[in-house]
């Protein structure tokens, strides 16, 4: 018995294990799918089939049944129960049929941005309603979008679609939620709404004026997802609207010069408007407002303006519309520019009180002018760097040290500065500039040719050759005498008297034409003995008195103390005979008061110096002064020798006479004579020296020779333009920078191309964005005013909003990355509205080498700028994805032969089958189907 039970257990166990093995085989390697015709059958969770292993065990239970059933019925019951379990296990294994469906799911994307009128929204609702009623088994969803899309839930059992409302803005939002149209985002949201097993359709109901995103780029993706994009373009006419499209300033604004502010206006219907232009916070002085009759379309308005202060300036245009205007946000436009600072001019004048004439003219021409005496001329080039132009007016050469000259030359040559020497009694040759480094710098030579009508000169040099002059002093004194001899012309006479205790005629009075001999004689001067001036001066007096010359002059050089009496009387006597005396005191122990009084009495000049090196210059200057060889004191009219840009608008022909000038000679080309005297001598000449300009103005610029010019209306303009043309150009190179705003991002591009057709690579660049400037349009709730209605949208803040407390301009700095040879770029988001300026600095090895400027305006949300509908955009998107223009509901739900696969679960039929099997199973138990004849058979037996 026990053995039989064990055998039974083994048999049914083996059977059960067999079933389990079969299932395991199926789960592991059995076919995943079953194809029958078009349909495809799969089991999602086949592991549950292991439950089938129970089935053989049912048989074992049946073997030990106590139930009173006929054997056939038992077997049937077992079969039914097995089937029942199999059905349930199969249901749990989740069979599914992948089949094809042609149901359509349509997502309506309705544009509810501000540019859409209420009437249009009504039309949109009607379109959705028609589709809703015709949908049948198909699926219809609704999304309302502006800047962001929002799903509008529709209950399945409603009949009429509710009115489509605009998007409410969050409290304290920067701008209205409707101030933007993002078709791309709306379409993206739609992808997530299509239920599985439906053909995908999207219907855009929009004006196509997108402000963010790119519908066409998204359309390619939509096509990929199998979404057909159809569209309905809003048909209602554009609302009455006036907008400022742009405000443009010239590329270069200069302080003090007028320019035009160009405003482009746009109107959808002819309207009357007043255009108000404000400069920073005040009305634009030159042209504050205009009344205009705007025609339909675009109109350009030009308004004159002038900037008086360098730095950032912001222009704001405001429109007062007399008539209907849908949006107010776009009636204001602000744009900014940075006006470079005034150029600085250093005006060096030996008598600063007489510098005011030119200084005043230049200040009126928007220059910063710094007037100084010759001593304050900077001695190093660093200090000069802050000036753009240097004028040396009527300054003698001996007032300018070699260091100062050197600095000036380097300033012009290396830093590109502008330099002008103006004449006067001490200018050019008269100031002893001949032979200096400055003469080399200037476009003119100072050894003017003598003219016939000039007086001839007899000059006596009385030179101290006492023992104290030994050495360098003597040598320089000789050099001075030689230089004097050199600059005298052939018609002049020269005598050199050397003296110690006794006077000696080193050079007899003779024509300066005998230059060679004179120089040799001078060379013979040798120091010895004491100091006795009187005899020497007397000797010179005697000799001059008998010489025929129109000018007779004595230059006395001494370095010693002298207490001689009678000198002053002698000088007075000489003066009475038109012989003038100048004195040069060398060293610190000269009798200054005596020498000064001699010079005063002698009608000459007194020079004191401790540096013997100055002596030659003093001599030459004194000689030039005395000879007046180069001064031409006569009235003349300047003549244009060659035209120059800076003379534009100046009629030199109408300029008054000048009263004199210093005769010079133009150097050969490239020196260029711009203005000349009637005698053909240069009045104004220029040439380029290194990086800069050097100019010579041989007349003066003050109330002596130019006295009539000071009253000439062209005086200021002449000098302003002259300086502007020749002043130092910007310290650094300016690189071209462009800035634009796309999708809320500022995109900055700098093109760095050097002078030599080369790209400038490896710069470290940073750009600083400042703004919004001036206009108080920052951080405000910009709500439009709908004249057409939509009261719900127009609560408070009708007047363009309430200004937020913080309105200061912000600054942010971003690095520019090199993206290509000679190209630098930056991108960063901008979430403010208004006018912005961008300034970039480009450095190499830490040294700034170039800069860039640009401006960018982000006046109001783009939604208010795009008024015309753009059906082309919608049409292209529809063409690409296979959508339609204005599809009817029937067309919309027409699958057009398309099918989409979807999984259909098959477990419910199996459960129905299980229920049926169960009922049958019960029937088998409750009704004796077989063995019914048992009793009669039995009865027959009894």
């Amino acid at each position: 018995m026990k053995r039989r039970i064990a055998l039974e257990a083994l048999f049914f166990g083996a059977l059960s294990a067999g079933v389990a093995a079969l299932v395991a085989w199926y789960v592991a390697v059995g076919p995943r799918e079953l194809l029958r015709g078009e349909d495809r059958y799969t089991l999602v969770a086949p592991t549950i089939l292991f439950a089938l292993a129970v089935v053989p065990l049912l048989g074992w239970a049946l073997r030990h049944s106590l139930a009173d059933l006929p054997p056939l019925q038992r077997v049937l019951s077992l079969a039914l129960r097995s089937l029942l379990i199999t059905a349930l296990a199969l249901a749990l294994a989740r069979p599914a049929r992948t089949s094809e469906s042609s149901l359509v799911s349509t997502v309506f994307l309705v544009d509810v941005s501000e540019s859409v009128t209420d009437e249009s929204l009504g039309d949109a609702r009607a379109i959705v309603q028609a589709a809703w009623q015709a949908r049948g088994e198909n699926d219809v969803r609704l999304v309302a979008f502006a800047r962001h899309p929002r799903v509008v839930p529709i209950d399945d059992d409603i009949e009429a679609i509710p009115a489509i409302s605009r998007h409410a803005s969050a409290a304290g939002a920067v701008e209205s939620a409707g101030a933007g149209t993002d078709l791309e985002a709306a379409l993206q949201l739609a992808y997530g709404l299509f239920p599985p097993g439906h053909l995908r359709r999207a219907v855009l109901v929009s004006d196509g004026a997108q402000t963010e995103g790119d519908l066409l780029a998204e359309a390619s993706r939509a096509k990929r997802f199998g979404v057909r994009v159809s569209y309905h373009a809003y048909k209602r006419g554009v609302p009455a609207e006036v907008a400022v499209r742009s405000v443009t300033l010239p590329d270069r604004i200069e302080v003090g010069s007028t320019f035009m502010v160009r405003t482009r206006l746009f109107a959808t219907t002819p309207t009357k408007v007043r255009v108000r232009l404000r400069q920073d916070d005040a009305a634009n002085a030159l042209d504050p407002s205009r009344e205009l009759e705007l025609p339909r379309g675009e109109t350009e308005v030009e308004m004159r303006s002038i900037v008086r202060v360098p730095g950032p300036v912001t222009y704001t245009v405001d429109l007062d519309v007399q008539g209907p205007d849908r949006f107010r946000a776009n009636n204001r436009f602000a744009t900014s520019a940075i006006v470079p600072g005034r150029p600085a001019v250093l005006l060096v004048e030996s008598d600063p009180s007489r510098a005011t004439y030119l200084a005043r003219a230049l200040v009126a021409g928007e220059y910063e002018v710094d007037v100084r005496g010759p001593r304050e001329l900077p001695t190093n080039v660093r200090e000069l760097e802050r000036f753009d132009f240097v004028v040396l007016s009527d300054v003698p050469a001996d007032a300018v040290s070699l260091g100062q000259m050197d600095a000036l030359e380097r300033y012009v040559r290396d830093l590109g500065g502008g330099f002008l020497m103006a004449g006067g009694e001490q200018g050019f040759g008269l100031g002893g500039w001949g032979g200096t480094r400055i003469e080399q710098l200037l476009p003119v030579r100072m050894d003017a040719e003598r003219r016939r009508d000039q007086p001839s000169l007899a000059l006596a040099l009385v030179i101290d050759k006492s023992g104290s002059m030994t050495g360098i002093k003597m040598e320089l004194a000789k050099d001075a005498a030689k230089a004097t001899a050199e600059i005298l012309s052939a018609e002049d006479y020269l005598e050199v008297v050397g003296f110690d205790s006794q006077p000696v005629r080193v050079v007899r009075m003779q024509s300066a034409a005998n230059r060679l001999r004179i120089l040799t004689d001078i060379g013979r001067l040798a120091p010895s003995g004491g100091t006795a001036i009187f005899p020497a001066l007397d000797m010179a007096y005697q000799d001059l008195a008998v010489t025929r010359a129109r000018i007779k002059h004595v230059i006395l050089l001494t370095d010693g103390q002298t207490q001689e009496s009678g000198l002053e009387t002698l000088v007075q006597a000489m003066r009475a005979e038109s012989i003038t005396v100048s004195v040069v005191g060398l060293g610190s122990d000269v009798n200054r008061s005596l020498l000064q009084s001699m010079a005063n009495l002698g009608g000459g000049r007194a020079y004191f110096t401790v540096d013997p090196h100055n002596v030659p210059r003093i001599f030459t200057r004194e000689t030039s002064t005395v000879s007046r060889s180069s001064a031409v004191e006569e009235y003349f009219q300047p003549i244009v020798a060659s035209p120059a840009d800076f003379l534009r608008g100046i009629d030199v022909g109408s300029a008054p006479f000048l009263h004199g000038y210093v005769a010079t000679q133009a150097k050969p080309s490239p020196a260029q004579v711009i203005l000349r005297s009637e005698l053909g001598e240069p009045l104004l000449a220029r040439w380029r020296v290194g990086l800069g300009w050097s100019l010579a103005w041989t007349s003066d610029i003050k109330n002596r020779w130019a006295v009539e010019w000071l009253r000439w209306p062209g005086y200021q303009r002449f000098w302003s333009q002259l300086v502007r043309e020749h002043m130092r150009q910007r310290r650094r190179q300016t690189l071209d920078m462009r800035a634009s705003i796309e999708d809320g991002q500022v995109h900055v591009e700098v093109d760095a191309i050097g002078q030599d057709d080369r790209f400038m690579d490896g710069l470290e660049s940073r750009v600083t964005l400042t703004g919004p400037l001036g206009a108080r349009a920052d951080r405000r709730t910009q709500r439009p005013t709908n004249d057409g209605g939509s009261a719900a949208q127009n609560g408070a803040a009708q007047d363009g909003g309430v200004a937020a407390p913080d309105e200061s301009a912000r600054e942010e700095t971003h690095p520019l990355r090199q993206t290509a040879p000679g190209r630098y770029e930056a991108r960063f988001p901008l979430d403010r509205y208004g006018a912005f300026v961008l300034e970039a600095v480009h450095t190499r090895d830490g040294r700034p080498i170039a800069e860039s400027r640009a401006q960018v305006a982000n006046p109001y949300p783009r939604e208010y700028a795009t008024i015309e509908p753009d059906e082309t955009l919608l049409r292209r998107a529809a063409e690409l994805t296979g959508g339609d223009r204005e599809p009817t509901p029937a067309r919309l739900f027409d699958p057009r032969g398309e099918k989409v696969r979807h999984n259909e679960p098959l477990w419910p039929p199996l459960l129905y089958a299980a229920l049926g099997l169960f009922v049958l199973d019960l029937l088998l138990r409750r009704v004796r189907l077989f063995d019914r004849g048992f009793r009669p058979r039995r009865r027959a037996g009894s």
Binding site: L58, A61, S65, L66, A67, D68, I85, L88, A91, L92, P149, R150, V151, V174, E184, A185, Q188, L189, Y191, G192, F194, P196, E212, D214, L216, A217, A219, S220, K223, D251, P643, D645, D736, G744, Q745, I753, D757, F759, D761, Q818, A820, P821, G822, R823, P829, L830, D831, T872, E879, L880, N903, L911, Y912, A914, L915, V919, L922, R926, R928, R935
Partner: protein, 632 residues
């Protein structure tokens, strides 16, 4: 609460009632007993004596049996109703899963890749969902694209997840979050789950910082490696004047934490031009310039490999592509009585085929891209872009501009520096003796001039661009300056749209606007991986957003049937994607992302499975009890 997704409640009750009635009916049947004749009478006493007690017991057994049967029917009928936990306001979450598919997710520091790992993480997340959680899966790169609807159907979600593919694009967290916020608006218990390595850019865009509000932010970190050297910029550009030569920029960065020695190769049309060995310290960035590259190379490619053939963790940024803007030969017709300055200037560009004819011979046969009218105006508008030099109309001629008078000594005072015509020119001090005073048509642009009138005008006539110089260049010093050939060549470049954007490559993830030949309405783009698609053309530009780096081919067909093919390059060129060290935290504004919380109940929504399982168990048990006579 429970809702029924299958049969409605009425239907369920109907099924239950009908089947239940049959069952009850079956139980009401008197079970016909087998009659057995037993010969022993005494036994009957015992049988009859027990009957009183067993009747109650057997009736109870019968009742139990009936109840079991009814329970079974109820279970199956209920299962047919497909009941689901509903509403569950306290538990159901709405989750948007943003799967980062940006370039850095191709890193292979976790095998097989970060993206595959990310998908595994999302699968785990799906398995751990609560019964009422609804999920939308979206692919996040520069744009965010949903791949599934918002659903609780895990099968749909799993399938959607499989469709997420890697891209070579920089990710934009701001775009992803904006999308998620749009989807989650007004949804219960909103959550955003970001599955990423954390290099996603700032959560800031044109609208400012993304404000999450009540939306919970979760972050699942993927990845662990950081060894990466990549090309951050690769570009080629022709020199402004000498367009036969060009310069190449390659910028490399070592974003890893160790020094690397690498080999940089530059290939032109597939052939190696230059190979360099470079040492990059950790974090170092170097730029290499290849100057004066000449020759006819159309395509350029830069490749880097680590020394010793090793690979870094992200191979996607080890190659970069560029293409020299094609130089189209322009056929230029000069209608002139001889102008040496003009001839000399046009000689500078070897890509111009210049023909010169006398005005009497105009119009000649053949097509020209650009016609230069020197001191002559044709009687009809030319069918080509035109440059008019001193367009003083002779008898019968129609110039582009209406002449109203003359200006003496005009000045270059206002110059539009942004206009392509004035690029690289210095015109301010050009001297001009006199010029024509002209009236501009709407749309015309005065490129340079002064308050009295323009000197250079650019505009469109009859659909063709034109440039007019209102003065005779021989009466000016312009021809003596570099600006003169530059203005002419700039104008020709502007006409043939060459160099309008010198772009040597586009950036993946951005919307590309690729210029196409006039007249084309649709274009076909073949991506580097062979994927071909049709793209729209708007305003002469094909619009497309590519996701892969490499060379693309753009084919266009115009209405006249002419086909054109052009090749352009696209690069990842994003610094942020290069740094692949995974971020352990994700911070948006003041919010630090939390960890993913599994659903309250591990059981997914399908209650019918439980019901059927119960029924299955019941059937087995009942079988045994029946045959052991516990139930009848």
């Amino acid at each position: 609460m429970i809702e029924l997704a299958g049969l409605s409640l009425t239907q369920v009750l109907t099924v239950l009632g009908a089947v239940g009635a049959v069952v009850v009916g079956l139980y009401l049947l008197k079970l016909r007993r087998r009659q057995v004749a037993v010969p022993f009478v005494r036994l009957w006493d015992q049988v009859l004596a027990d009957e009183r007690t067993t009747r109650l017991f057997s009736q109870l057994k019968r009742l139990l049996s009936l109840l079991l049967a009814l329970l079974l029917v109820a279970l199956l009928a209920g299962a047919l109703g497909d009941p689901r936990w509903k509403g569950a306001s306290a538990e159901g979450r709405s989750i948007v899963v943003l799967v980062d598919a940006s370039a850095s997710m191709q890193a292979t520091d976790v095998r097989p890749s970060r993206l595959a790992k990310a998908k595994d993480e999302v699968r785990t997340l799906i398995d751990g969902l609560g019964p009422n959680d609804r999920v939308l899966i979206a692919r996040m790169e520069a744009h965010t694209t949903p791949v599934s609807p918002m659903t609780d159907d895990t099968a749909v979600l799993r399938e959607a997840l499989d469709s997420v593919e890697p891209t070579e694009v920089a990710a934009s967290l701001a775009a992803g979050l904006r999308f998620a916020l749009d989807v989650l608006r007004d949804q219960p218990h909103p959550e955003v789950v970001v599955v990423s390595d954390g290099h996603l850019g700032p959560a800031r865009d044109g609208e400012g910082e993304v404000a999450l509000g009540a939306v919970a932010l979760r972050y699942v970190k993927v990845g662990r490696g950081r060894r990466n050297v990549g090309i951050t910029a690769f570009s080629v550009r022709r020199y402004p004047l000498d367009k036969s030569r060009s310069e190449v920029l390659v910028e490399l960065r070592n974003a890893g934490d160790r020094d690397e020695s690498i080999e940089l190769s530059l290939l032109g049309d597939g052939q190696a031009i230059d190979v360099q060995q470079l040492q990059l310290q950790k974090g170092e960035r170097i730029a290499r310039f290849f100057q004066d590259i000449s020759g006819a190379d159309r395509t350029l490619e830069a490749r880097i490999t680590l020394a010793g053939g090793a690979h870094d963790d992200l191979p996607a940024d080890d190659r970069a592509y560029a293409r020299l803007p094609e130089r189209r030969r322009a056929r230029v017709l000069c209608v002139s009585r001889g102008n040496l300055y003009l001839q000399a200037a046009l000689l500078l560009d070897e890509y111009l085929d210049v023909t010169e004819i006398a005005p009497e011979a105009y119009p000649p046969a053949g097509r020209h891209d650009v016609i230069i009218f020197d001191d002559f105006v044709p009687s009809t508008l030319p069918d080509a872009s035109a440059i008019y030099l001193h367009p003083q109309p002779a008898a019968g001629g129609v110039g582009p501009l209406e002449i109203t008078g003359a200006i003496t000594r005009p000045l270059f005072e206002q110059i539009d520096r942004r206009h392509p015509l004035t690029r690289w020119t210095a015109l301010r001090d050009v001297n001009v003796a006199d010029s024509l005073a002209v009236r501009l048509a709407p749309g015309d642009k005065a490129v340079a001039g002064d308050a009295r009138g323009p000197l250079i005008v650019a505009g469109t006539r009859g659909g063709r661009k034109f440039v007019a110089l209102t003065f005779d260049v021989r009466h000016s010093d312009l021809p003596l300056r570099v600006a003169w050939p530059l203005v002419l060549l700039n104008a020709i470049d502007w006409f043939v749209e060459e160099d309008a954007s010198y772009l040597s490559s586009y950036r993946t993830g951005e919307t590309w606007r690729v210029p196409v030949p006039a007249g084309a309405r649709e274009a076909t783009i073949v991506a580097p991986d062979g994927d071909t698609r049709t793209v729209p053309v708007l305003e002469g530009r094909a619009i497309f957003a590519g996701l892969r780096a490499g060379f693309y081919t753009l084919r266009t067909r115009t209405a006249s049937g002419a086909t054109a093919e052009q090749v352009f390059a696209a690069n990842l060129a994003d610094d942020a994607e290069l740094d692949i060290t995974p971020e352990s935290r994700l911070v948006v504004g003041a919010t630090t992302a939390g960890r993913v919380v599994p659903g309250r109940a591990g059981l997914r929504a399908e209650l019918w499975i439980a019901l059927v399982l119960a029924a299955l168990a019941l059937i087995c048990i009942e079988w045994v009890t029946y045959h052991r006579r516990v139930t009848v």
